[in-house]
């Protein structure tokens, strides 16, 4: 076991936090209709991933994301996986993330999920499990990136003694991915909904670091089925790739939600004509639906002819009769998730429910089986965090980032989130958790 020294970081944490504050490392939260920006709490103790673990995670993630990209292409074209009976068609057509408008549309270089955020947890026996795939707009890479920049400045000694992968290259990987799918060598932009978005810090930080333009919907117009950047000038410049941080529903008011002021009218048309790359593509929600999650290991086998390297958490689909019986009988020890919800909402632990509530939930599952999944509660490892001067243990997960361009690349770091509440298992930052830097160790 390698000995990793991070004690200096604990001593220097006030300085680190001051810099974080100065750089505006914030996360916006809407609570009771009011927008509040708060510092995203940073814990100085890094999460350490051994090289041995990392090699397996990296190989497993590449495999998983490759299969997910093939699945998305298949679903919006021939749907072989449905025709061959691997996935019931209901899981496609009833998914809120499935967009029939995307049928037959092929994105630039055939890539759908350019930036995939895969959430993992490590069980106490050391096994890593995938909890969730995020293939729409996974956020969070900027936080460990800036944390590393700051800690390296404040505590250069720490990074001299430890041999770990640099993670400040995320923006370079992002840029490489955008370059690869860029259509007709046009401008590259990050499209932000603006400063009232929870991840606005990230949008502006990534734009700066990747050397691409930060654009608002008003800056972009579609003419002749092509996208142009208008910005401050009168001269229009052709746009080749848009890393959009606006969800599908709001991205084109003429095709999706009409009321949206955040979107770019007729953008979908330009995209479907192949005149602009959208990162990530339209319609990816069909592949990161909690119901579809169950089928991901089957996708790996179906498209790649390989066994999935990374495991899913043991999951039951009440849609299948056998699973439903099992779920109804074992509800009190399972966790139930609403497939339509995200951000840690719609998650219910059986062990926290009294008999009345259990009966209610059983009924919900019986009425709309397709809406729910049930999972075994994974006893994932606790990580140390600093609580004042004390080290305490908290639950945490890891969001790994996979970038798909010419090659599939796994960023050797990730966003480690932890719960602040000692009894909570939900680490989502929308729920007030904090984050850590993630150190991936090099081979010694």
């Amino acid at each position: 076991m390698e000995v990793v020294m991070y004690e200096l970081l604990i001593k220097q944490r006030d300085t680190v936090n001051k810099w974080m504050d100065r750089f505006g490392v914030r996360f916006g939260i809407y609570k009771n209709g009011v927008f509040n920006e708060q510092l995203f709490p940073f814990d100085p103790i890094p999460r350490i991933i051994t090289n041995e673990d990392w090699v397996e995670i990296e190989t497993g993630l590449k495999q998983r994301v490759l299969a997910l990209n093939k699945f998305l292409y298949d679903i919006y074209h021939e749907k072989k996986i449905v025709k061959d009976g691997v996935i019931p068609e209901e899981f496609i057509y009833s998914s809120s993330g499935y967009l029939p408008q995307c049928e037959g549309v092929t994105p630039s270089k055939n890539i759908y999920s350019h930036i995939s955020g895969i959430d993992l947890v490590q069980n106490k026996d050391g096994t890593w499990y995938v909890l969730e795939d995020n293939l729409r707009i996974p956020s969070g890479a900027s936080y460990p990136m800036i944390a590393r920049s700051i800690t390296r400045k404040v505590s250069p000694e720490t990074f001299k003694t430890n041999i770990l992968y640099d993670n400040r290259n995320y923006s370079a990987l992002l840029r490489k991915t955008m370059d690869y799918v860029n259509v007709d060598n046009g401008l590259e932009v990050i499209l932000t909904p603006g400063r009232y978005n929870s991840a606005y810090f990230e949008h502006s930080y990534l734009a700066e670091k990747a050397g691409v333009l930060l654009a608002y919907a008003d800056d972009l117009i579609v003419e002749d089925d092509k996208v142009y950047y208008k910005g401050l000038y009168d001269k229009k410049e052709r746009v080749g790739v848009i890393y959009r941080r606006i969800s599908d529903d709001f991205l084109d008011p003429l095709v999706f939600e009409s009321g949206s002021l955040l979107g770019v009218p007729n953008l979908f048309r330009a995209y479907s004509e192949g005149n602009v790359a959208i990162v990530n593509a339209f319609g990816n929600g069909v592949a990161d639906d909690k119901g579809i999650y169950y089928f991901v290991p089957k996708m790996v086998e179906y498209y790649l002819g390989e066994k999935a390297i990374l495991k899913n958490a043991p999951t039951y689909l009440p849609y299948f009769e056998e699973d439903q019986t099992f779920v109804l009988e074992n509800l009190s020890r399972l966790v139930i998730k609403d497939v339509a919800e995200a951000g840690g909402y719609g998650v219910m632990f059986g062990r926290d429910m009294d008999d009345i509530r259990l009966a209610e939930v059983r009924k919900l599952v019986e009425i709309e089986p397709r809406r729910w999944i049930a999972q075994e509660v994974i006893d994932f490892i606790d990580l140390e965090i600093m609580d004042g001067e004390k080290k305490v243990l908290r639950k945490s997960d890891l969001r790994a980032f996979v970038l798909s361009g010419e090659d599939t690349m796994v960023w050797p770091s990730g966003l480690t989130r932890y719960t602040r509440n000692p009894h909570s298992f939900i680490v989502n930052s929308s729920q007030g958790g904090g984050f850590k830097d993630t150190w991936v160790m090099k081979k010694q």
Binding site: E89, P100, C102, E103, I221, N266, E273
Partner: protein
């Protein structure tokens, strides 16, 4: 076979000048076994705009365009003469999407309750099932403009007990799909009405047929289809977004004659 001459015209006037105006129109008729253009359909858009013509994933012809300059009116017109035949459209590859609920047709508690009481007999023909469903819709909804809007769901219209052709169609589609009959929303023109109309297409043995729940009758001929989708939201005839603060006044007319 009846020939129908149609002229669909919409004029929008703005109280103040608007600019950066993007639009997406579905105003050109389908060409299929049930309807053929006698002469090429014609359309016109004012002020002059850069437009592109293409298809969306539902098979609709779409016109997208952009007007940069300031303007205080927007007008589009589509006209032509169609020969119509028996309303029956060949489709050997059913898109199974039309078997599943969509946003505006998704059944909730009331639609499910009524569906359970409907007792559409499984052994009767699809056409008979559809007629029975339309009969039920006719008893559940009263035709009344101005109460429902473009975002009203089938479930909401049912609670209100009234609506227009769009609501009748949504409710009928919802019941059809609950009965395992693939169904889709169709919009276009019929003779004599001053507005565009909506009806339902249902699938049986390789063909799409149509039923008009608002008039509670099967569609035989003399309907011109210009848009289709899972529900209204997939295929509105026109949508636009512009910049500028302006009140808009809309003037729509459809003239159809034999």
């Amino acid at each position: 076979m009846p020939q129908l001459k149609y002229c669909y015209k919409t004029g929008v006037t703005f109280t103040e000048k608007v600019y950066i105006h993007h639009f997406l129109l579905r105003i050109l008729p389908f060409e299929n076994e049930a309807q053929r253009a006698v002469e090429k359909s014609r359309y016109e858009i004012l002020p002059k705009a850069k437009v592109c013509v293409g298809f969306d994933a539902f098979g609709n012809k779409i016109i997208t365009g952009y007007i940069d300059e300031k303007h205080d009116f927007f007008e589009f017109l589509s006209e032509g003469t169609m020969e119509t035949y028996e309303y029956k459209i060949r489709d050997p590859h059913l898109n199974r999407l039309y078997l599943y609920p969509s946003k505006l047709t998704k059944p909730a508690v009331r639609i499910r309750e009524i569906h359970d009481r409907l007792h559409v007999l499984p052994e009767i023909s699809t056409a008979d099932k559809v007629a029975a469903i339309s009969q039920a819709v006719a008893s559940l909804l009263r035709y009344e403009p101005g109460v429902t809007g473009i975002d009203t769901t089938a479930e909401e219209a049912l609670s209100l007990g009234c609506g227009v052709c769009q609501d009748f169609s949504h409710l009928m589609i919802s019941f059809c799909r609950l009965n395992g009959i693939p169904a889709r929303y169709a919009a276009g023109f019929i003779e004599g009405e001053g507005f565009s109309h909506a009806w339902v297409e249902y699938y049986s043995d390789g063909w799409w047929y149509a039923f008009d729940p608002t008039h509670n009758r099967p569609v035989e001929t003399a309907y011109i289809k210009i848009a289709q989708g899972r529900d209204y939201a997939d295929c509105p005839l026109d949508k636009g977004v512009f910049r500028g603060l302006a009140q808009q006044q809309l003037d729509v007319s459809v003239k159809t004659e034999q």
